[in-house]
Each structure stands twice: as structure tokens, then as C-alpha cells.
Amino acid sequence: MSGALLSIRELTIRFGGLVALDRVDIEVERGEIVAVIGPNGAGKSTLFNVVTGIYRPTEGHIRFDGDDITGWPTHDIVARGVARTFQASRLFSDLSVLDNVVIGLHTRTVTSVIEALLLPSRSRRELARAAEIATGLLKRVGGDLYDQRFRYARELAQADRRRLEIARALASEPKLLLLDEPTAGMDDRDTDALIADIRKVKSESPDLTIIVVEHDMRLVATLPGRVVVFDYGRKIADAPFAEVRQNRRVQEAYLGSAQP
């Protein structure tokens, strides 16, 4: 047992006959940035879903920050310090941009039902404070989200949607941030902006641990840290990008067997 922030052991999940994750072992240290790559359907998003408690693993264990979180409900895992974004941005579309981030602060607010009913000024103040923090986050995250903070989230452009999701994820002051294909559907310019955003976020919170699932090799190449490669639910490589590139198995996974 190491002091790793996230420790995944023998993680397996089966959907009927399909084995989506097959005895996966991964360790992530505090402050690392890890990229997860692999062909489509290799199990990358499933990994996130299991770590955040959306799916229950069939076998295996997950330890996070000293606790065994296997089988914990999502909201407890999030409260413990994990935050994520989604491949297809799941924003709260009929709420304002600002409200999306305020909701991200849910685990950092405490008003109970009784308190909301009997101590309304305290509850409103808490919400106003949350709105302040959220506004600050919107300013930091770049783009012009701050200017659009009172627009409905569904009206945002693609790059802004990603940024909003990241802002929402950061609102809960997570220890571990999971980014699920953040550059999906983005062009080069937006991808560069996103890389800059991630760098900025990391520099402001050096202890923040980030795992990124990605297809865009440009992004993966610029990130420091390790690359974990999945294929058919199995981890087939776990090393810095330069090494992984040369790895025969990885090449085969992406391109099919090389002709001798």
C-alpha cells in the first residue's frame, strides 16, 4: 500500500458478457498529471464512471486519499474530493452559467432543510457567498464566461461549454480532477486554449491531481506526466509519452498488427 492519492487494484467491470474493464491496476500520486489513451471502446470513460461511483465494479478495489471508496455512491465520492467533466458536456442547460458553477459548490455548502426554512438570511447569505466564489472562478477560467454569466448555459459555444464544465468541476475544490475527452469536437485553436487553461489551473493549484482521457495526441504530448494506454479494457502500457509512442503493443492497438 503506497501513499498514492488514487489506487486502483484488479478493477474489473462486466456488463452481461462484455468485459469493459479487465483487472486494471493504476496508481496515481498526488500532483501528477496522467493521460489515459486508447482506441474507442477501450474502457476509458468506463474507468471514470467506475471511479466516480456511477457504475459499481464487478471486482477489484479503489482507494482514494486513504479511504476504500469501492461501491460508494457518487455524491460521497465527490464530497471526498473527486470532480469530473463529461465527454458530451453535461451542463444544466436551463440554468444560468453562473448557477452551473454555484451548483458545483454544493459539497462546500452546508445549509440543511430546517436551516433553509427557519434561518433564511443565513441560507441566502451562504448562497450569495457561493455566487461570489463562482463569479471569481468564472473570471479565472478564461474566455469570456464571466461576461456571459447570466445567460442560459445551453446558449454557450462549444469551447465555452467545456470551460464551464471545468469551472464547475473546480468549484468543489477537488483533490482529483477527471477530464473526459475535453478536446472532443474542438479545432486546433480551441485545443491550444484548453491546454493553456489546464496549465493555468495546475499552476494555481500545484497539488491538484489530474487524469485526462484523450484522443488528441497533441494534447497528450504537451502534458507532463505519464500516459496509460488501454485496449479492450486492459491496461497495456503505463509510461511517459516518449516511451509509450515506441511501444509495439500500443501501435498495434491503434493501427492493427504491423505487417512484418
Binding site: D99, V102, I103, H106, A116, L127, A131
Partner: protein
């Protein structure tokens, strides 16, 4: 100064319109009033600045608004003098407004289809009626007990909501509603199909609500007592709804309405919040049921059917989802309009059905749609 004037003008205008709508008996006149209302809503839609201006002025001139509205609601029954019929309509509209606000927690805020509000309404009514008839409990004592019983039922109803969603959840609520209705119908001690009669009117320190109200030299029908009682209940409901809406709880409900998976992923305990919505709905619905029982003094299972729940849904959908003023407008409109069309009472249900479908197709957010939250950020 401008804000105060606007507030007073709008408030008095609304009061005047309501009075006119209630006393108008000529169908032609009713049609004109409805057309006028239609024009107002069209204008609000076409010129959003109008709506913002009105809302801002209410926010600025808060004291004036409170004073004006307090005067209006307290004095309104005096406009109808001895005529009990109009006061009766007001009581019903107020009770339905409370029920609409109760349902709004689930339907409007959290997008949970609940067809069992009629059942919780009924549990509140029956619970209090039975306590009063069998053990002579006073109205005031039965209130908390009935509310508790219904809230427990609300929690129990909320439990299957853990594992079910959308249409399945709707079916669960329909099933519970039908079960309660059938049980009330079958059990002897609930009076069976005949129901319970002779529920005594509430009294406060010996002053009975069943007698006419004599005040300031006026004599008003006894219904006015219940008008003030329901008004107090509506005030309570509005306060509860407001406080919950403007807290992290209201936000959590809205989040789970928008995207349940995303809501879980920001740490919202979706199960708890869904169950909470059921419980709060049941709590307020029970209060409404108790007031209803003691007002009409007889209740039967047919007052609390599936169709009642559908009527309530209509009010919330038409009035405005997740908009408290909208819900009240919807409740008043859909209680008063059928009365105006009494000649066509046979078409009432058809009317409801068509209106719901029309609104869902054309204007699903209702007459007064939900508004973005406003934070006072220093």
C-alpha cells in the same frame, strides 16, 4: 417614487381585474376580460423589458408592495359583501394555489411527475376529519398530526423514486394514488364511498368560524373566515417555497431536474432530494386537505382522485413551472374559469385536457415561466 407608483398601479390593476372577472356573469364580458388577459401576456412576451421593469420596481419598492398587497388581500372580501358565493370561490382558489405550490416542488423544481398529490391531500383531510369526528380533536390540533401522517406517506412514496424515473415513476405515483383512493373507498372506518360528514367548523378561543363575520359594522358570510385561514396557509406555502428555492436545496432540485447524472457528479445526493420533494409536497398538501375538510365539512374519496392530481398538474403547467406567482395565477384561472363556464360544466374535463395539451405543445414553460436567479453580489 416611480417604482412605488408602478407597484401600486400594477397591484391595484390586478385586484381590479380579479374582482371584475369574478363578478362578471355575462359570457361576452368574460370573453373580453380573457382577451385582455391574453393581451397582457402577449405584451409581456413581446416586450421583455416590461416584465423586468415591473419585477425590478417590486424589488425596489418592497415596503410599498407589501403594504399595498396586505391591504388588498385583507380588504378583498369586503368587496363582495353578503354574497357568499364569491368568497367561496376565493377559498377554493386559495386552497388550490397551496396545492399547486406543493406540487411545484416536484413538478416545477425537480421535474418529478407526481400523480399522487390528490392522495396526500386526501390523507391530510381524512386524518384530521377522523381525529375530529372520533375523538373531538380541534382543527388546530389535527393540523400537525395530519401533516405528519401525510409527510410520512410522502417519504414512503418517495422511496420507490430511488430506482424509478420518468414514466415508471409516474406509474408508481399513479399506483399509490389509486391504492389510497380505493382503500379510503373500501374501509368502513373511513366512511366508505359515502365519506365523512359533519366535520365541525374550527373555532378559535370559543369563536366559531361557522358564524358570520361581524367586523367594523360589516356583516360578512362565514366563508370569509376560511378565506383568511386559507390566505394564511397560502402565505405559509409561499414562504416555504421561497426559502427553499433560494437555498442550495432549490438549486439542487433544479440541477437534478436538468441532468440527474451531472447532478450526482457534483455531489448532490439525488435520492435524498427526490424524497425530500415528495415529503415537502405531502406536508403542504396535507395542510390544504385539513382546511378543505373543515371548510366543506364533508369529504369523500371522490374528492381525492387521480383526476384531481391531473387538474393540479394542469394548473402548474399552465401557470408556470417553477414560478410561484405563475402557479397561483394558474390555480386562480383554472378554478374561476370553469365556474364562469358553468353553463358548459359538462365540458370541464374536456377543457382541462385540451388546455394541457395545447400548453404543452405551444408554451410548455407556462404563462409565467421560471426566472433566472438573481444574486445580490456586493
Amino acid at each position: 417614487m416611480r417604482a412605488q407608483l408602478l407597484v401600486a398601479a400594477v397591484s391595484l390593476g390586478i385586484a381590479a381585474f380579479l374582482w371584475a372577472f369574478m363578478v362578471a356573469n355575462d359570457p361576452f364580458l368574460v370573453a373580453i376580460l380573457l382577451a385582455a388577459l391574453g393581451v397582457v401576456f402577449w405584451a409581456l412576451e413581446r416586450f421583455p423589458r416590461l416584465e423586468t421593469a415591473v419585477i425590478d420596481s417590486f424589488r425596489q419598492a418592497r415596503w410599498t408592495a407589501s403594504a399595498v398587497w396586505l391591504a388588498i388581500v385583507l380588504l378583498f372580501p369586503f368587496l363582495f359583501g353578503q354574497n357568499a358565493y364569491y368568497s367561496h370561490l376565493l377559498v377554493l382558489s386559495l386552497i388550490y394555489s397551496v396545492l399547486g405550490i406543493a406540487l411545484n416542488f416536484q413538478l416545477g423544481s425537480a421535474n418529478i411527475p407526481n400523480f399522487a398529490t390528490g392522495a396526500t391531500y386526501g390523507i391530510g383531510a381524512y386524518c384530521s376529519a377522523l381525529l375530529a369526528l372520533n375523538w373531538g380533536w380541534s382543527f388546530w390540533l389535527t393540523l400537525p398530526v395530519a401533516a405528519f401522517a401525510a409527510t410520512v406517506f410522502g417519504f414512503v412514496l418517495g422511496l420507490p423514486s430511488m430506482r424509478t424515473r420518468d414514466a415508471y415513476l409516474a406509474l408508481v405515483t399513479i399506483a399509490c394514488g389509486v391504492i389510497i383512493h380505493q382503500l379510503l373507498n373500501n374501509f368502513e372506518w373511513t366512511g366508505g364511498a359515502q365519506g365523512l360528514i359533519g366535520i365541525p367548523a374550527p373555532s378559535l378561543f370559543g369563536y366559531s368560524f361557522a358564524q358570520p363575520l361581524r367586523i367594523f359594522g360589516f356583516t360578512l358570510p362565514f366563508q370569509v373566515h376560511f378565506y383568511y385561514l386559507s390566505l394564511a396557509l397560502l402565505a405559509l406555502a409561499v414562504v416555504v417555497a421561497n426559502r427553499l428555492h433560494h437555498s442550495r436545496i432549490g438549486l439542487a432540485w433544479n440541477a437534478l431536474r436538468a441532468d440527474e447524472v451531472a447532478a450526482r457528479s457534483v455531489g448532490i445526493n439525488v435520492v435524498w432530494y427526490k424524497v425530500l420533494a415528495f415529503a415537502v409536497d405531502a406536508f403542504l398538501a396535507a395542510f390544504a386537505g385539513v382546511v378543505y375538510a373543515f371548510y366543506i365539512s364533508y369529504i369523500s374519496p371522490d374528492n381525492f382522485t387521480f383526476l384531481v392530481s391531473v387538474t393540479l398538474m394542469t394548473m402548474v403547467i399552465v401557470g408556470g413551472m417553477d414560478n410561484i406567482v405563475g402557479v397561483i395565477v394558474g390555480a386562480f384561472l383554472l378554478t374561476l374559469l370553469p365556474e364562469k363556464l358553468r353553463a358548459y360544466s359538462d365540458y370541464r374535463l374536456l377543457f382541462y385536457g385540451v388546455v394541457v395539451i395545447a400548453f404543452l405543445m405551444i408554451r410548455p414553460q407556462g404563462l409565467l415561466p421560471q426566472r433566472l436567479r438573481n444574486y445580490e453580489i456586493r
